[in-house]
Every structure is written in C-alpha cells, then in structure tokens.
C-alpha cells in the first residue's frame, strides 16, 4: 500500500474546492502539529495559534502542492518555518528539547506549562480524555492492544504489524479497527459529556 494515499485523496479534494476535506486533514494532524510547534514556543495556547497559522498557510499554498512529498512532511516544514518566524518576530528564544529525555520529565514540564494558560475545565477535560483512553487500552484484549500500540506508537504499517504478529494483513486491519471501536465507545461519552458541560458553562 502506498503511503499517504488517504491524505493525497483529501488534498486533491481540497484542491478541487472541497473545504470539508481540509477539516479532516486538520483533525488528523492538529495534535502532532501543536506538539511539533511546542519545541519552539513555551505556551500551548501560543503553539495552537502558530499551528492554526501554519494550517491556514498550508491551505493557501495547497494549489502549489504537487504530491512529490507526503502531505505531512510538507505541512511539517510549513509549521517549522511559521514557528521560527514567530519566535524571531517575538524575540523569544526557542526551547531546546533533548529528544532522549525521559517521557515523564517532559510530561511534568509540559503539564506545568499547560497549567499557566489552560482553564480548569479544559484541564479536567483533557485529563478525563487521557484517563479514558488509557483505561480503554488497558481493557483491550492483548492482540488488539498490541496491534493498536504498534500502529500508533511505533508507526508500523499493516504489513509490518502482520509480520510482527504473525497474522494476515486483513486480521491486523480488523484488530486495529476493533481496538479503535472499543476505545471510541468510551471516548464518545466523554466528548459528548464534555461538550454538554462546555455549553452549560456558556
């Protein structure tokens, strides 16, 4: 299976004037892009602003995107340049990250920064989402959990996962889908409850 085929079909739709297809690309990459930008700026809200700017720049530049590289690679470059320009224009020093640093250190650091700008409701909801997903993953049967973790954490293709788990590619596809369905069943309740809470808060 050729990589980036789904992104490319969405990109082609956007290039033909379908803005809804761009929403799907934003939904897919927003977290990755914010995470990427946070290497350059301290504040998550500021990182979101820069990510938003990068997405809008990408949308405007999409007519020039020919598909020579993967869409995310192209978007990644736009986001890095946008973040660097933002740092220069605001006269702030970029944060240097040691990618070998232990995850727990980073998470502690990030949580501390998030608390500077995030509302209490937002923090609660983010924590609730995280707890729900982790609990749902823990509750998965071993074969489903392995498949989804290999896919999401290690970024392996279905063929590679099939080789690692010694099963057909179709089985991998089915396991990953069933894992997502099980997690989504719980996650949907949190999102719907969270949206309801947000509306109550006005």
């Amino acid at each position: 299976m050729s990589a980036d085929v789904s992104d490319l079909s969405l990109v082609r739709r956007v290039q033909r004037g379908d803005k809804g297809a761009f929403d799907a690309l934003v939904l897919k990459y927003q977290h990755k892009l914010v995470k990427l930008v946070m290497r350059y700026v301290r504040n998550p809200a500021e990182a979101e602003d820069i990510a938003q700017e990068a997405f809008i720049k990408a949308y405007r530049a999409l007519p020039q995107f020919r598909g020579d590289s993967a869409f995310y690679t192209w978007l990644y470059r736009i986001a890095i340049n946008t973040a660097k320009n933002a740092v220069v224009s605001r006269d702030r020093s970029p944060i240097e990250y040691n990618i070998d640093r232990h995850d727990n250190d980073e998470s502690y650091d990030m949580q501390g920064r998030m608390k500077d700008s995030e509302t209490p409701e937002g923090l609660v909801l983010t924590d609730e989402i995280r707890t729900t997903v982790n609990a749902a993953i823990d509750a998965l049967p071993e074969d489903l959990r392995t498949a989804i973790v290999l896919r999401e954490l290690e970024g392996l293709s279905y063929e590679e996962i099939a080789a690692a788990m010694d099963c057909p590619v179709g089985t991998v596809r089915s396991r990953i889908f069933r894992a997502r369905e099980a997690i989504d069943h719980r996650l949907r309740e949190v999102f719907e409850g969270g949206l309801g809470r947000a509306e109550e808060l006005g």
Partner: protein
C-alpha cells in the same frame, strides 16, 4: 453506523486503504460530520497513545481553522478565477458595449442614407409644389445668397419659410436619440463625422429638377 464503513475509515486513517476506496471515502468524510467527528477521535486516541502530553486534547483548533477558512474562497474557484483575471473582464465590457452601439448606429445611418434619395424626392416634391405655384422659393434668401446650399440642421430655417423637415435633421435626431446606448467617445466621433460630412454631402447631392427650376 455501518461497520464496514467504520473499518474503512480506520484503515484510511492509517493510510492503508486502496486508492479507489480512498477517493469515495474522502468524499463522504468531507461531508459527513458524524464521520468527521469519529475521525477526529481517532486522532485523539493516537495523541494519547503517543503520550503527547503538552497538547490540549479538547482544543478547538480544527473549528478555529475552519472558521477562518470560511471567509477564504474555495481553491477550485480560485484557480478558475486565476485563469480569467477579473481585471481582464472589466476593461473590455464597456469597449464591447460601445462598439456594439456604434455598429448599430452606423448600420442605421447606412440604411437611412440608402433610403434617403427616394424620400427626399417625394418630400421635396410634396413641399415645393405649393411654393412653386405661389412663386415662392423653398430656399431661403440667405441660402440663395450662399449659392443655394441647404440649411444646416443646427440653423433654424427663416420664419418666412415654411417649416421644412429635412431628412438629414431626422437622421441627426435619430443618431442623437440612440447615442445614449453608445460610449461617449463613440457618440462624439459618430456625431462629429456626421456633422462634418453632412454639408459636403448636401452640396454634392444634386437637387431635383423641379427644385432647381423653382429656385431659378
């Protein structure tokens, strides 16, 4: 929701769906909000599994981007507009309208001129017969002094002379009446040409024999 559709969505999220199926699902995904929400939750799952700790999982970033892009023209429309620039559309429209109006006016003039000899003859005969009978001339004294040239349409005839409807005046009125449909430049050119050519044409045109004899 259809389980097969959800299975395809999961595979598409991982870039593991055949291109032909991707095309169809991409179309549906761009329009189906429920499917899009599920797609967004798949992204949230991935962010949690990858322990993307600094990222707000409930962030309304996609909604914000979508709101900004609402004001943007769709890319397909942009490329069509790019192929035919708006500035190009603006300049030729009045020129074309003016050319069309001038063309209509020119055709009208030609047609009226082609019709003119017979109508002049009949009108002249009709108007000059009583005058000839009474011994009066249809050509005013001032005209006679100028050698018998016809009146210009801008110079009113002498009160002593009966009102004569000269075809060229009708023609001028016709042109003026229709000039509102032509551009100012075309209108001015047309009228100028008409005014400058009219005396010469009138002078070149031989009056009918009966008018000549009456003048003498």
């Amino acid at each position: 929701m259809n389980e097969e559709l959800d299975s395809q969505l999961s595979a598409m999220f991982d870039d593991q769906l055949p291109p032909s199926e991707c095309e169809l699902l991409a179309r549906r995904l761009s329009r189906d909000e429920q499917l899009k929400a599920r797609w967004g939750r798949y992204a949230v799952m991935g962010a949690v599994i990858r322990a993307e700790r600094g990222v707000r999982l409930n962030a309304p970033l996609a909604g914000r981007v979508s709101a900004v892009l609402l004001a943007e023209p769709a890319l397909g429309a942009q490329s069509v507009a790019g192929a035919l620039p708006r500035r190009g559309l603006r300049w030729w429209q009045p020129v074309a309208a003016g050319a069309l109006a001038a063309g209509v006016a020119a055709v009208s003039i030609l047609w009226l001129r082609a019709e003119a000899p017979s109508s002049v003859a009949s009108l002249s005969a009709r108007l000059t017969t009583p005058a000839a009978a009474s011994g009066a001339s249809v050509i005013p004294a001032s005209a006679r002094e100028r050698g018998g040239r016809a009146d210009s349409y801008v110079v009113p005839p002498s009160p002593a002379v009966p009102a004569i409807v000269v075809p060229s005046t009708e023609l001028a009125n016709y042109v003026v009446a229709h000039s509102m449909f032509s551009s100012p430049v075309a209108r001015r050119n047309l009228l100028s040409a008409f005014m400058t050519s009219e005396p010469a044409a009138a002078g070149a045109e031989e009056p009918p024999d009966d008018v000549k004899s009456a003048a003498q």
